[in-house]
């Protein structure tokens, strides 16, 4: 009887535990299993924030693993390695390429608590009932599919979403007002000979070509059918204009990474260039004046969202829906808004921002006190107003969405020629 060496005490303990387990079975097991769940998310650096993973563990209990990649690698991974992720944090134009592969699953909007509060841009494409839908890959055009298992896109709110929108913004040119000394109000200024040797553009072909198109159209040189889907002829003419400018010494340099754009601007090598919102913040944080200049032709905009891997099912899928609902419930939105991005459900984010922050970032009102980033750096002082103004003023003036063209490979080759010219 060697194996029956239970002491009375240990028998009692086990017994008590068994009674407890049978009395409240579900929550205990559920809490335990939720803890064991790990969701693997990957995406571009903008919204893959460690703070989010920490907060998820705190609020929801499961583990979120984040991998940050550049947008080319993100596209490749979403398209070719569906088993390597549970949640894809991608941009809408990437979705256009990836969705048809069937690696993501449609999301049931009836399970999204705040679905009705998601801004119109991601539902019917209209911010306000009379907005005009911009060119390029507008998010709502690739935001819905016909049903579970669908690999197509439908234009109406079908109840099945491809991506749940999370983050978006409107991009424009950044300028150094102290070195320019006069108002700038059009994209055409990028090629103004006045700034010869002091201009820059980003060397990422898919985005760079759109900034070029905004400039060429503003100059009145080319009128595009769709800047987000150019014909070969439009690509040729656009690149030709910029090649001439490059040969004439218009550009000081091209940038490829965030920090390069910050250094070019902060050192005064460049006074006008394509730029991203957090880069402006980084220049300002060094005490150097820098403006994210609103231009009369409008903004080039982009949006990102999270999609679920088609391999996700059962409890991890439920956890993923919890995650999405949590994402839209305001904490992340507030965090992103205080970085200068916009949240898909602004009204929930409002609860996680002070009235002054909400006024400054969303309503375009002058700041009352110091405005700080989520990590505590001072971004603006009393009386400062956000460049471009309120949410409606900025997102209501989108001229073009980031997109992928049918002639993408041709465009890339022409882009290489431009760099080598």
């Amino acid at each position: 009887m060697s194996k029956m060496r239970y002491s009375r005490r240990s028998l009692l303990k086990t017994g008590a535990a068994a009674v407890a387990a049978s009395a409240f079975p579900a929550p205990m097991i559920w809490a335990q299993e939720i803890k064991d769940i790990t969701l693997r998310q990957f995406g571009t650096g903008v919204s893959n924030l460690n703070d989010v993973a920490v907060k998820v563990k705190e609020d929801l209990g499961f583990t979120l693993e984040m991998t940050a990649l550049d947008s080319d690698a993100v596209t490749q991974r979403a398209a070719t390695q569906p088993g390597s992720f549970d949640i894809a944090d991608i941009e809408y134009w990437i979705c256009k390429k990836v969705w048809p592969t069937g690696n993501l699953q449609a999301m049931d909007t009836s399970r999204i608590t705040n679905y009705d509060k998601i801004v119109g841009i991601f539902r019917d494409g209209k911010l306000t009932p009379d907005s005009v839908i911009a060119q390029g890959t507008a998010p709502h055009t690739v935001g819905f599919t016909s049903g579970p298992g669908g690999t197509d896109f439908v234009q109406e709110e079908s109840g099945w979403m491809t991506l749940i929108p999370t983050i978006y913004n409107a991009d424009t040119l950044g300028i150094r007002p102290d070195l320019i000394g006069r108002p700038i109000d059009t994209w055409a200024e990028l090629l103004n000979p006045e700034f010869r040797g002091k201009a820059s553009i980003l060397d990422i072909s898919s985005i760079g070509i759109m900034d070029m198109a905004m400039v060429c159209e503003a100059m009145g040189e080319i009128s595009y059918g769709d800047k987000g889907n150019m014909t070969r002829d439009e690509i040729d003419r656009t690149i030709a204009i910029f090649t001439d400018a490059k040969r004439a010494g218009q550009f000081r340099a091209f940038w490829k990474t965030f920090d390069e754009s910050v250094n070019l601007m902060a050192s005064g090598e460049v006074v006008i260039q394509s730029m991203w919102s957090p880069a402006i913040t980084a220049v300002k944080a060094r005490g150097i004046p820098c403006v994210y200049q609103p231009l009369k032709e409008g903004y080039r905009s982009w949006g990102g969202g999270i999609g679920l891997s088609s391999g996700l099912s059962g409890m991890p899928l439920d956890a993923a829906y919890d995650y999405i609902n949590w994402y839209l419930s305001g904490w992340v939105g507030g965090y992103l808004m205080r970085q200068g991005y916009y949240s898909a459900v602004p009204e929930t984010s409002k609860q996680f921002m002070s009235a002054d922050e909400w006024g400054y970032w969303f309503e375009g009102k002058p700041a009352q006190g110091d405005i700080t980033s989520p990590t505590g750096e001072k971004l603006a002082g009393p009386g400062d107003v956000r460049d471009g103004g309120s949410f409606e003023e900025r997102m209501g003036r989108v001229a073009c969405w980031n997109s992928v063209m049918d002639e993408n490979q041709y465009m890339v080759r022409k882009w290489n020629e431009f760099i080598a010219a």
Binding site: T80, A253, W255, K256, V412, R413, A420
Partner: protein, 287 residues
């Protein structure tokens, strides 16, 4: 067994096998794979096994390729000429002017100190130095030599070559210094006794005897410059292209087969250059 191991033939093979294995796995195999993939085709997300000349056809059919290769050769040639002049002078000074062996070693080590820091750091540190409001421009302006900042100091071919020279001169100094140190000093005395001037000794004795060192340095510099992409990208502000950047652009856009094809063409070009160089000097004979 004993006799087999003692046979010089077998020992030779055994001694050579570790390095042969390493080279086979880490050099030959990757190159073979690159060669194979260069014949594949790519869609936007995937590479597809095939046997297609499409990549090469596009490469040789595009004027960009020729321009970029020409530019790569230009960088290599200019960098080579400058590093050779500098390297030879420095090595000559160390080998023939510095008499004490201790000082020779001290000065030689001094030359290598910058190489204890990272390549990239040494290159990037030029950027604030040469910039529009950088130290170089403000110094020149405060001395009254120029009125306006010199724009061509940074983000230009000048900056690229400057960085190359800075990064690679040591690769010229070391082999030349090494061969110079092996020159029998009595040959120089003999030349002097026979009435040769300093210049004649240099041209007729020292340079011919230093050729293997020059050649080794040349191979280093030329291959390094031709294979580089990061220096060109940073110092030209992405405004100039060389073959390395062409390859890195392709990789960024997931066009691996096209990148592989460009890499093969570059490899063959560099091998031809080295082959031609080795025809000029038989390194093995002269070492």
């Amino acid at each position: 067994m004993q006799r087999l191991l003692k046979s010089p033939h077998v020992t030779g093979w055994l001694l050579a096998s570790p390095v042969a294995l390493v080279l086979a796995v880490f050099l030959i195999l990757p190159i073979v794979m690159i060669a194979v993939i260069s014949f594949w085709t790519a869609t936007e997300f995937a590479i597809v096994p095939a046997f297609s000349f499409e990549n090469y056809q596009f490469l040789f059919g595009s004027s960009v390729t020729y321009r970029v290769f020409l530019n790569t050769f230009r960088y290599a040639a200019i960098t080579w000429a400058i590093t050779l002049a500098l390297g030879f002078t420095i090595a000559y000074f160390l080998a023939f002017h510095v008499r004490s062996q201790t000082w020779q070693m001290v000065l030689f080590l001094l030359c290598t100190i910058p190489f204890l820091t990272s390549n990239i750091i040494r290159m990037i540190s030029w950027i604030p130095f040469l910039g529009r409001n950088g130290i170089a421009n403000s110094a020149l302006m405060s001395w009254g030599l120029i009125d306006a900042p010199l724009e061509w100091l940074l983000f230009s071919d000048f900056a690229v070559i400057l960085a190359f020279v800075h990064l690679y001169t040591l690769f010229m100094v070391v082999p030349i210094f090494n061969t110079m140190m092996r020159i029998d000093r009595s040959l120089l005395e003999a030349a002097s006794d026979a009435g040769a001037s300093g210049f004649q000794t240099l041209v007729n004795v020292i340079i011919p005897l230093t050729k293997p060192g020059i050649m080794i340095g040349t191979i280093f510099v030329v291959t390094l410059v031709m294979g580089d992409f990061i220096t060109v990208r940073f110092m030209s502000g992405s405004q100039s292209a060389n073959v390395g950047r062409l390859i890195s652009n392709d990789i960024a856009l997931l066009q691996y087969p096209s990148a592989a094809a460009t890499a093969m063409v570059l490899l063959v070009t560099v091998l031809i250059v080295i082959g031609a160089l080795l025809r000029l000097v038989d390194i093995r004979k002269e070492l």
